[in-house]
Symmetry: C2
Subunit: 344 residues, 2 copies
DNA sequence: CCCAGTCTTTACATCGATGTAAAAGACAGC
DNA sequence: GCTGTCTTTTACATCGATGTAAAGACTGGG
């Protein structure tokens, strides 16, 4: 910057003033400075600026697995929303490990970021304890605590609605693909809410909650969904619908079902979550819980930037509306299916 | 840091020495310092460190559209590879706009990054001119210039091989879904190579290159692929195979074909590129050009980090091997199809 | 033509970590 | 006990941008 100043015949501070617009600079001076900046191909050093005024213009985005379609869609939306606000995004992966999640949050300050958006699998309380020492955090997805800002869809109610929908279309034995009561299912963030909604839906219809119809899926990917479905089929359990906790899981399940000879939706109904691009283009277009991913990201960034301006704000929670999109995959009534009578 | 030093009864430099390990520190002193750091919950400020030693530990990753399955997979792989090397990743989207690509590269220095991995759609020469003033760049994908480091698969040869495969399975009229000679097709990076390979494959088999079988697809997403396929079908052109330039395009095309009543692979064969997770789980599992995404990312990071250490290295290009994975979608021979005789 | 009041520009200190060079301390050997 | 070597610690300057406060350049009114 000194070089620019020298070339333009002014002091470094004047160059800085031109850049930040914080003080008035006379037209001819400004032009001279701009000319010099162009000639020297000058770019301000953000490390220095960050050091000086304590903000880097970078926010962090942490998700379990970037390959999952929903994460990819959310990353896109967050990058767009951040771009519109003059911020850039650093991505992190927690690989669904609570330890990495914990690590990431507590070490957030080291990472040059002004704030962070986290899609938690499970956020330990100990992390939230440290909140005062950490940069602003917005959680996306459901977590049972009210001390940070959050953006969420009402997963519990959505899952209940999905179950009602499946039951209305004739399903009676619905597989929950993504979480189980007997495991750590209810403990985990989004997973817990969807499982609760599933159970509530069954209870309302006075259908029993069968443990053999509840399957944990450690990785919420297509392969993970297929593996979960295979587990059910190999046990020979009979069922007539699947509530998958994400669209990726649903797509994997549908593939596995077809490869066992199941017909969709004639034998089994399937419903997913998130409405990723893929869902509507699947072999059997997938019924799913849809919501506006961009609105979700915008809300998260609004909460984050407002808190970056004022750390003293009370914790806020913003709910994004969802909608059940009925597609071909739940055109019932289903005949029912089990691994036993399959051709493979 | 001063506070830590004071609490441990040493000078700030000693604390720094403990952190960096650059100088010897006696055991008891080090323990005292570490104790003090823990007590004060101290985390070093990376902005300051970055300012001091000119490196931030952040690399940039720029791709056209993060929603595309291949981009998501690559982002995952790059984040993992970077993590293993103690780096973090900042993501950018170029939205397939050459202007944004140009902007990003020339302004790269402002973004606190030590280097950058770019999946270019079209990289203008003017950018490469500025290379000396820019941080290290590794291009992923094919670009017709040899002044930067690059990682690539031989797309031209892969496309030719795919065409040979389709012809061997009985195809004669192959749609190129992703690029066209008559447009700007040959100018663009990866797209150009795949188009050239397609044309080479046809020429070898002495089949004519028909302009009506070549379709540009501006967005390499599922929806983009479906739109491109629809265009062909609406024109009533007859064809018996589709070479889609990415798996996402292929999946969109397959969906569109099915909705016009086309049977896969009985009427039309389909081949994609990239082997994303989805390809093998599609209704009709997709034949595709597969390669190891993680190896690809590792190679890119190796090139990048070595250049970060020594800017003077000559430009290097590393080719990653690919393999044509034949799945159900190219079980020929195909009967042929056109929009005219469709039920819709 | 001078002066108060306003608009521009300048000098300097600062953010936090770390390289350099020199001072202080530890230790062995005579 | 003293010197010389080696290790550990210190003081200071520096990376680049910017806030503060003060100096300098201008305007218009008298």
């Amino acid at each position: 910057m000194r070089d620019v100043a020298e070339r333009a015949g002014v002091s470094p501070k004047t160059v800085s003033n031109v850049l930040t617009g914080s003080a008035q600079v006379r037209e001819p001076t400004r032009l001279r400075v701009e000319q010099a900046m162009r000639e020297l191909d000058f770019v301000p050093n953000l490390s220095a600026r960050g050091l000086r005024n304590g903000r880097s213009g970078v926010i962090g985005l942490a998700q379990p697995d970037l390959r999952a379609a929903f994460s990819a869609s959310m990353t896109h939306a967050v990058v767009e929303a951040a771009h519109a606000r003059g911020l850039v995004v650093q991505v992190e992966e927690t690989a669904a490990e609570p330890a990495r999640e914990h690590d990431l949050v507590t070490r957030a300050r080291t990472h040059l970021i002004d704030g962070m958006i986290l899609n938690p699998v499970r956020l330990q309380d100990s992390v939230v304890e440290h909140l005062d020492h950490l940069p602003p955090i917005v959680l996306i997805g459901e977590v049972e605590q009210h001390r940070t800002d959050r953006v969420f869809i009402n997963s519990r109610s959505a899952a209940r609605e999905a179950v009602q929908h499946l039951i209305a279309r004739g399903a009676r034995r619905i597989v929950a693909l993504g979480g189980a009561e007997h495991g750590a299912g209810l403990d985990k963030a989004t997973q817990g809410q969807r499982l609760r909604g599933y159970l509530a839906g069954l209870a309302e219809a006075q259908l029993p909650a069968r443990p053999e119809l509840q399957v944990e899926v450690p990785e919420w990917t297509i392969a993970g969904g297929a593996a979960g479905m295979r587990e059910v089929l190999e046990r020979g359990v009979e069922f007539d619908a699947v509530l998958a906790f994400t669209d990726s899981i649903a797509l994997g399940a549908m593939h596995e079902l077809r490869s066992w000879g199941g017909r969709l939706p004639e034998d089994v109904l399937v419903c997913g979550f998130d409405d990723v691009e893929h869902a509507s283009f699947a072999g059997t277009p997938l019924t799913t819980i849809a919501f506006d991913h961009q609105a979700y990201a915008n809300a998260a960034l609004d909460l984050l930037t407002s808190r970056m301006r004022d750390r003293g704000l009370p914790p806020r929670a913003q709910e994004i509306p969802y909608e059940l999109l009925a597609r071909a995959s739940t055109q019932g009534p289903p005949a029912g299916f089990s691994g036993k009578n399959s051709p493979i």
